[in-house]
């Protein structure tokens, strides 16, 4: 990640198909929670119910504050096993 796009946002499974893309990149210019991150990259779309979010490969809550260099992932409930 260079300093021009210091947040990467990833989408998986049905969400990825719904949005039509698997990643977004942007530069942090103010303090943001993951909830703000969603609104920033998907301004027209309310987050689907039950959407999960992870930062740097760990589950976090929607009020978690991101920092430059973070990888933020949004995905539907998991269905493995």
């Amino acid at each position: 990640m260079n300093q021009q796009c210091d947040i990467v946002v990833k989408y998986f499974a049905s969400l990825k198909e719904k949005l039509g893309r698997s990643e977004d990149y942007f530069t942090l210019t103010r303090s943001m929670t993951v909830s703000d991150v969603w609104a920033h990259v998907n301004p027209e779309i309310a987050p689907p119910e039950q959407l999960k979010v992870a930062v740097n490969l760990d589950y976090v809550s929607w009020d978690w504050v991101v920092k430059p260099g973070d990888e933020v992932a949004f995905f539907p409930p998991v269905t493995g096993g």
Partner: protein, 150 residues
């Protein structure tokens, strides 16, 4: 061991090979091995499923499985554990997941094996997309309940 595999695997061959590489000193302590194998069925919610695609989140999936395994190790007295999960395109009768736990005593083996499986289903980022005869492919919406309601 945590392993995510693209190719079909035979769980009994895996068990065989994995145990063979254990030191004899370790094998002589093993009293109990508990194993769970999850396979693809050809039916889900009354529909014939022909094929499935398993997506995952490289990096996070391994990390979450590692955390689950570490948690089991803290909670029970275990000798070793193994989680192997298939990804990519799968067909009916293919093995999707293998969970194995080795312990001195059976209560630890049984309980840790079940814990690993339930924790995996709850938190490991895998997603199933089913290809159903005569329909558009669909994402499985949610996992089934693993513990019975008594």
């Amino acid at each position: 061991m945590i392993s995510i595999v693209q190719e079909a695997f035979n769980p009994w061959d895996v068990m065989q090979a994995y145990q063979q590489q254990m030191a004899v000193r370790v094998r002589r302590k093993l009293g109990a091995t508990s194993v769970f194998v999850g396979s693809m069925r050809d039916f889900n919610q009354d529909d014939q499923v022909d094929r499935m695609v398993l997506e995952y989140y490289p990096g996070m999936t391994e990390k979450q499985l590692g955390m689950i395994a570490a948690q089991a190790n803290e909670q029970w007295s275990l000798i070793d554990s193994l989680i192997m999960h298939r990804v990519g395109e799968v067909f009916p009768t293919d093995v999707l997941v293998l969970v194995a736990v080795w312990a001195e005593h059976r209560a630890d083996a049984f309980e840790a094996c079940r814990f690993l499986m339930e924790a995996l289903k709850a938190q490991a980022p895998f997603w199933k997309k089913e290809c159903v005869t005569g329909q558009q492919a669909r994402w499985v919406a949610e996992n089934t309940e693993g513990y019975k309601r008594h």
